[in-house]
Symmetry: C2
Subunit: 293 residues, 2 copies
């Protein structure tokens, strides 16, 4: 990619993640905050109906509604299936998107701090991630290797990524995290501006990357009901090492359940509210250093 | 009240407050945990349909559905209106309830710790509250003077109270708070058992009471949209003194808004997710010492 011409900031892809929704409102009322000389900035409220009801979605998770075949399927008529088609018209089509970068603003009940979620390891996004970690060491970078086409909203564009902040309860604003997310958005825009102007230097220090390696579900009974909770020692310990034998769950009658893996991993999205229904108690990552040159 | 014959433990009055729901499941599978020799213990899942959808309610807040006139109104047919009538059949009727005590288990995104919410200051509930604070100094006791008939589920019975724990996000289990709530329920049952057996001593040390004195809404624009967040200095500071001039809100563009009251108050339910729609950013209380003899 040479010059960046259009950037989309999306919030409220999940209607109960208020940080992104209210940041969008702020930006839309103060366009100068996100305007930069060398490119156009669009803002988009992902799921307005779900936001009205303070819910993640109405019929289906909008952020799992962007498979090409679903976007082309005229039979799908749930609210999010239709909304995905509208959004594709505004930002897409996939592979030939009208925007160069999508920044999708999310929040989580997990202690994800300020996280950048990447779907592809392209030198452009890696340099951006390295820049963001260099100016704010709190920023963590996660990477999920794609085994198939992505169904995420940000996959409409080759250089889409998510900013994921937490812990914050659903349908709540946390002012501190709001302001940190706001600063991170400005840092992204400033980086893109300087890149367009050719005045950025490559950052050559290694980048710490948390590479997605699978998920662990809650223990469940034969009816699919959970039988245990995240262990208190693991709660809010996202990005911390989890060793074989460490407790991960606690049954309702107080029995600890250990992690039975054979190597140390770094769990993220520990106890994310929206993942109970997806069969995910946490995601496991490997921590790796990436030479960035 | 002489002898206590029946006690109802209710959880999931709000379907996305998981602590109570899963405590009920534990109790129902291990009845001995809540069985005591001198009285009968019932368990009741308040809003099963809302729990299935991980929502507070389907059509209307169940915990605002217990006005006598609503219970008698055959035209009201929303899910919670009907569910309230079913629950009244099981526990009520109001004023002549089939149970002597209702313990309603709630959770909140606010930092309420372990709170007991009382609707009436009766020597019986005051002694119970004093006992609970004596064995666990973490326990706080709140009191809302009733200006009219209560529409809360626990008002079905003269000696109903809520246990309110937090902070915990909606639709999430926090193991530490789960276990603390569990212990508190056992302490209540043990107290009632010993009272029936006549082996409790009155606790004469003064009881600290947080008396409800009103609510503050978020600043809103002409469309009813909130214009500010809870100030970071106030977030999670439930039960701490708030002085005139202290910051309480922060606008989205970063301006602090001060508390304009004329006396020191003790806010609770600060930034409770479910109260955004009710026009409540926090509740204000006065702290008072009650002689308990």
């Amino acid at each position: 990619m040479n010059k960046i011409n259009r950037v989309a900031i999306v919030g409220g892809t999940h209607g109960n993640e208020f940080t992104g929704v209210y940041l969008l409102k702020l930006f839309e009322q103060n366009l100068n905050l996100v305007k930069r000389p060398s490119f156009e900035t669009l803002t988009l409220l992902g799921n307005p109906e779900a936001f009205k009801e303070s819910r993640r979605y109405i019929h289906k998770d909008l952020n799992r509604s962007f498979f090409s075949q679903d976007l082309q399927n005229s039979i799908l008529t749930g609210y999010e299936a239709m909304r995905a088609k509208v959004i594709e018209k505004m930002l897409g089509p996939k592979g030939k998107s009208q925007v160069d970068v999508i920044v999708d603003l999310h929040s989580t009940t997990s202690n994800m701090g300020l996280s950048i979620l990447l779907g592809e390891l392209h030198p452009f996004t890696l340099q951006l991630a390295a820049y963001l970690t260099s100016i704010n060491p709190e920023v963590k970078v996660c990477y999920t290797p794609l085994e198939q086409e992505s169904n995420l909203l940000r996959s409409l564009c080759d250089f889409g990524f998510a900013i994921e902040v937490g812990p914050v309860a659903q349908a709540v604003l946390n002012a501190e995290l709001f302001q940190k997310t706001e600063e991170l958005v400005y840092a992204v825009l400033d980086y893109l501006e300087r890149r367009n102007q050719g005045i950025i230097e490559n950052i050559n220090s290694p980048l710490t990357l948390y590479r997605f390696g699978g998920v662990i579900d809650f223990p469940r009974n034969e009816h699919g009901e959970i039988k245990a909770m995240i262990h208190p020692q693991l709660q809010f310990q996202d990005y911390q090492p989890l060793h074989p034998g460490d407790p991960i769950f606690l049954t309702f009658d107080g029995q600890a359940i250990a992690y039975t893996g054979t190597s140390t991993v770094y769990p993220i999205f520990i106890n994310e509210a929206a993942y109970y229904e997806k069969g995910i108690a946490m995601c496991l990552t490997e921590k790796q250093q990436l030479k960035n040159s």
